[in-house]
């Protein structure tokens, strides 16, 4: 039917790119050839129909899934330097493969602790922390204040909302919320913890491990199982938090008031009182044990030896920026930890930079490169160094 027509002219006519003179000539021919005219006009309508198709809606979780999948190649690069995998396999292919091999992952879960495998991803954000390099006690004591977020009195007061205090007790309610954990208090507590046996070769990670699990308990159980399987010196704690400090302070204030010991509540909030509070909190922390009932614990020791656990000042610092737990393990075991978590069913795991919360995709990709750099810095501390790794466990939909 179209054999006697110049295909390029027809195409140009359909696409509205034909020269005006040639349009006139072609139309004259088409008017004498009804079948071709009808076909060509139908093609023009088809073109308009294609152009009118609305853009597809992005899936609601598209950005999150995209970040998750695109973080994986970075982690695979970082963790597969010596044993290259199908490593930068396409995330889409990887996702499809995992759907098919889900049952095999369950079987392999505890069989490949030493293998370096894919890590799935998902993440949230916290404030920037710093890396403490191995050194002298005095250097380590000084390190937390270097480049770290300043916990000044204004910050501490912001955490405590007077309106949330027990309003039944007017005297307490009228108290100015003390700068319970001001910078110097925090430093003092940290230094004390350090003097009381904090190891000189402990480092602090600048990255946070985010574990998305079906529920909080499941996430904790999974981490405990993995740490147990690694058979390495380790500790896993639920962080002491400002909320916990507030609860204890209120309880302490109520107790002192009810027993009429010490100054009137309205006269409290002096520096000495705060020192006493810090000492009390620390005593409870050191008295904590896995067998202690949770309500008596300010920092739940979930696994491992207390000697490895992050000092409560460090936990407080982590929790103030959102990390719910802290894992302490040798730097050399970090890869195995992540690999084993990646195989664990019912959850997603990733490493993210400690940064301000930001849902923009650009931050996700900035995070990718930054996390890689931070991990490389961490590994420079040596396999034997113990790293305090902040952990956020969140409950959400299964991946």
């Amino acid at each position: 039917m179209l054999d006697y027509y110049d295909e390029s002219d027809l195409l140009a006519y359909i696409d509205d790119t034909l020269d005006p003179e040639r349009v006139v000539a072609l139309r004259a021919r088409l008017e004498a050839d009804e079948a071709v005219m009808e076909l060509v006009e139908a093609m023009r309508r088809d073109r308009a129909l294609l152009a009118s198709e609305p853009p597809p809606p992005l899936p609601e979780d598209f950005a999150t899934r995209l970040e998750q999948q695109l973080v994986r190649p970075m982690l695979m690069e970082s963790f597969n330097e010596q044993t290259p995998t199908p490593a930068l396999s396409r995330p889409g292919q990887e996702r499809r493969r995992h759907r098919r091999e889900r049952h095999l992952r369950l079987a392999r879960r505890f069989a490949v602790a030493a293998a370096i495998v894919l890590v799935a991803g998902g993440g949230v954000w916290f404030a920037i922390n710093q890396i403490e390099l191995p050194g002298t006690t005095s250097q380590i004591a000084a390190a937390p204040t270097q480049d770290s977020r300043s916990f000044d009195d204004a910050d501490a007061r912001h955490v405590f909302e007077p309106a949330e205090w027990d309003t039944e007790d007017a005297s307490i309610h009228h108290l100015m919320p003390p700068a319970v954990l001001s910078t110097d208090m925090l430093t003092e507590a940290t230094e004390t913890s350090l003097r009381e046996g904090h190891r000189a070769d402990h480092v602090t990670a600048k990255v946070v491990l985010h574990v998305q699990s079906s529920d909080l308990e499941q996430g904790e159980q999974t981490l405990k199982r993995v740490l147990e399987h690694l058979s390495t010196p380790a500790a896993f704690v639920q962080n002491f938090s400002y909320d916990e400090a507030r609860r204890l302070e209120r309880a302490w204030l109520m107790e002192r008031r009810s027993t009429s010991q010490g100054p009137e509540p309205s006269k409290m909030a002096g520096r000495e009182e705060m020192r006493q509070f810090i000492h009390r909190v620390r005593e409870q922390y050191h008295a904590n044990s896995p067998q202690a009932p949770a309500e008596d614990s300010i920092s739940r020791q979930l696994f491992g030896e207390r000697e490895f656990a992050a000092p409560f000042g460090k936990q407080l610092e982590f929790s103030s920026h959102g990390a719910t737990h802290t894992v302490t393990i040798p730097v050399g075991q970090l890869r195995d930890l992540l690999a084993a978590l990646a195989l664990a069913d019912q959850q997603q795991t990733t490493l993210r930079q400690l940064a301000e919360y930001d849902t923009q995709l650009s931050s996700g990709f900035a995070d990718r490169a930054a996390v890689k750099r931070l991990l490389d810095e961490l590994y420079e501390a040596g396999d034997e160094a113990m790293v305090h790794l902040p952990v956020l466990i969140t409950a959400g939909d299964r991946p």
Binding site: D15, A51, F62, P73, P91
Partner: protein, 206 residues
Amino acid sequence: MTAQRELELVESHREGDPDAMGELLQSYQRRVFTICFRMLRDVEEASDLTQDALVKVIENLEKYDGRAKLSTWVIRITMNCCISHLRKKKVRKHGSLDAMRRDDAAFDDTAASEHSASQDNEAAVVFSGELSGPKRVERDELHAGLDLAMRSLDPDMRSVLVLRDMQGLEYEQMAQALDVPVGTVKSRLFRARTALRNALDRFSSG
């Protein structure tokens, strides 16, 4: 984002700026997803392929030499992913290329069943616009028919229709994106329009 800004970001990325890549990819994610969807006609597959394509962009950005616009380069990567995926999918479904070529009717049935399955799975895009009532229904029906017809086209034909009519690319840009001469683009486009028209006639009468 202007082409100039894109080049600045590419340069920043090469100099180690960790934010540059993120900004670039954020500006392209929707476009890449749209192309993938229009090629694959399935949201889940489009999501997967988008991830694949963007990873390839990340991996290969160092090799981008600036001869083509960055958008064209990204589209080329995207189309390669989509076409490759469609070809593999077609072979898997039909067992062999020969079987596929012999059995056009079966392929049409496949297109129809995929269309139906995607609707059942709520993975299909609901085509709705700002038209009122009957007009919108009519338009939705047209787009549903278009979806079916597009699924019946082979990847090469789909690609030229998507790039020309849906993404609005000029012939020269299409040639760069598909890595074929402009003449090939035009002849392929004409054949694609013919094939689409035949498919629309077939499905509307079937």
